[in-house]
């Protein structure tokens, strides 16, 4: 009886041990990667390369997603608004939902899908083929050389991509508003513009910055802790994507709560 209870308890502890250790490892990596931003040597070429992969590479999909989500929002909102005879306010709602939520979250999820997974599989392959060890043996810190450039590049590109997605989304909403809902273009753009306050804009730019940290560090973290050959690379890639996506939603809720309680809304 006693023995089995003991066994159960240690079993539970073991279950907890793994995630706690992983979290600790993650924060260590995050700390080092952030500290390295202010340290030499800087690998400018790697930052440029990553900016190209993340920013330019993700542009087409971000434009597509932005456009269609703006258009869909305009259709949905107009239906709800028509009950109150307020179809003219469609632009306001499209603008608010895009800038506050859809732009940052959808863009970040897209970039997580493209780049967190890309980073996890690239770094994971390097780990299992001893290239990370070789890097250390040849005098470079893998965090400085691999993680920090990806962190910097994502933090620069994700807010920019979000701005593009927001704008393209508004254009998507505009096309629906003009051709389906027959709203005058001036009325639409005025309501879009008037809807936004500073609170919305800061929220809309702060979120992608935080998500950028999540997207890049999750990819690198799971990549660097890959074990078990090519199969392990596959596993890391999936884990990076899943964790990045979940964290984006959790942090989105927290940040939104902070901004809502700050007033505005």
């Amino acid at each position: 009886m006693v023995a089995s209870e003991c066994g159960e308890r240690t079993y539970l502890l073991d279950l907890l041990k793994e995630p706690v250790l992983a979290a600790q490892e993650f924060f260590l990596l995050a700390g080092k990667a952030l500290k390295n931003i202010f340290r030499r040597p800087h690998y400018g070429d790697d930052i440029a390369l990553q900016m190209d992969a993340i920013g330019v590479g993700s542009l087409p999909i971000v434009v597509m997603i932005g456009f269609f989500s703006g258009a869909v929002m305009a259709l949905q909102m107009s239906r709800a608004l028509s009950q109150y005879g307020q179809v003219g306010k469609t632009g306001t709602l499209v603008s608010l939902t895009l800038v506050r939520e859809l732009g940052p979250v959808l863009t970040s999820i897209m970039v997580a899908g493209r780049n967190s997974t890309g980073m996890a599989s690239e770094l994971g392959s390097m780990k299992v083929t001893e290239q990370i060890d070789a890097m250390r043996a040849l005098g470079t810190d893998p965090i400085q050389k691999l993680v920090t450039p990806r962190l910097i590049a994502t933090c620069v590109m994700l807010p920019l991509l979000t701005i593009i997605a927001d704008f393209v989304g508004m254009v998507g909403g505009f096309i629906i508003a003009k051709f389906v809902l027959s709203i005058e273009s001036r009325q639409y753009w005025t309501s879009v513009w008037r809807a936004l306050e500073w609170n919305d804009v800061t929220q809309g730019l702060f979120k992608p910055l935080v998500f950028a940290v999540v997207v890049s560090l999750m990819g690198c973290f799971y990549g660097l802790r890959t074990t078990g050959g090519t199969q392990g690379v596959g596993r890391s890639t999936t884990q990076a994507m899943v964790m990045a996506t979940v964290l984006i939603f959790v942090l989105d809720l927290l940040i939104t709560q902070v901004f809502v309680s700050q007033g505005g809304a």
Binding site: E130, Q131, D133, A134, R136, A137, L138, G139
Partner: protein, 274 residues
């Protein structure tokens, strides 16, 4: 090498390494001196790779101490390890060439990145070319590792390991999975590198004949060929054979003793000699 100052280039003192409770190295102690060659034999999983990685500070010992050039590296922070690693050349078992860089960039990597090397920019390319010619890969500068055969990759990785002319050189299974001709070429290269640079050499291998070549042949720099070491006895004494089994160092002595050994495990390595 008259009256050598016997500095221990590499010294293990009761080193134990384990991964999540699985012991990979058990209480290993040995010392390698300047100019010495060490041949490390052992079955798969016996801890040879872990031994080399521990000597470089890539893996930390759980207990015991590792001294490289007289400095205790077992508790050294990564930043300070870079200076020591600049003096060690390592060939990884899977070559570990960087996929994203071409061969010339791979070989130039330690020259450009090793903080203690500080090679002038203008000298990088000539040195890279010279080293690649040394391993007979003069025409592959622009190629990527994925475009080379396994044996060529191995040689490119050797070039990367020795381009900085490190005084301690470690090679992890340089002949594994290669045909006998290529394997012989590679060992000849290592002998050439050892005799030209007078470096301390650790060679991990499954093939006793690699060790036999290392122990009994030398590079004749005038004719550019391998020749039997003239004073065999002396040459032999600077080559030591080590045998690993399940994380333990079970044998450490010269070629005559290993050939005379009655241990069946050791005998299996010696007998495969053709």
């Amino acid at each position: 090498m008259a009256e050598p100052a016997r500095i221990a280039v590499l010294r293990f003192e009761n080193v134990t390494v384990s991964f999540d409770g699985d012991v990979a190295l058990r209480d290993i102690s040995f010392a390698a001196y300047e100019g010495e060659s060490r041949i490390i034999l052992g079955a798969a999983g016996s801890g040879k790779t872990v031994l080399l990685k521990t000597a470089m500070g890539l893996t930390k010992p759980e207990s015991g101490k590792v001294f490289v050039f007289g400095q205790d590296i077992s508790a050294m922070p990564e930043k300070r390890l870079f200076d020591i690693r600049g003096k060690i050349g390592m060939l990884f078992q899977e070559s570990a060439l960087f996929d994203s860089l071409n061969i010339a960039e791979n070989v130039a990597y330690p020259l450009l990145n090793q903080p203690s090397i500080r090679c002038p920019k203008a000298e990088v390319l000539p040195r890279v070319k010279r080293t690649l010619e040394f391993v007979e890969l003069g025409g592959t500068l622009e190629k990527f590792p994925s475009e080379l055969s396994g044996g060529m990759r191995r040689r490119a990785a050797i070039a990367r390991a020795v381009v900085t002319e490190p005084p301690l050189q470690m090679y992890d299974s340089p002949t594994a999975g290669l045909d006998p001709i290529t394997a012989h070429t590679i060992i000849a290269l290592l002998i050439k590198e050892r005799d030209v640079s007078q470096a301390t050499t650790l060679l991990v291998t499954h093939r006793f004949q690699d060790g036999n070549l290392m122990a009994n042949f030398r590079y004749n720099s005038e004719q550019g060929v391998l020749e039997p070491a003239r004073n065999g006895a002396k040459q032999k004494s600077s080559t030591t054979f080590m045998v690993m089994k399940e994380g333990r160092l079970i044998f450490e002595n010269d070629q005559d003793s290993i050939e005379a050994s009655k241990d069946p495990y050791i005998g299996k390595f010696v007998k495969q000699r053709v």
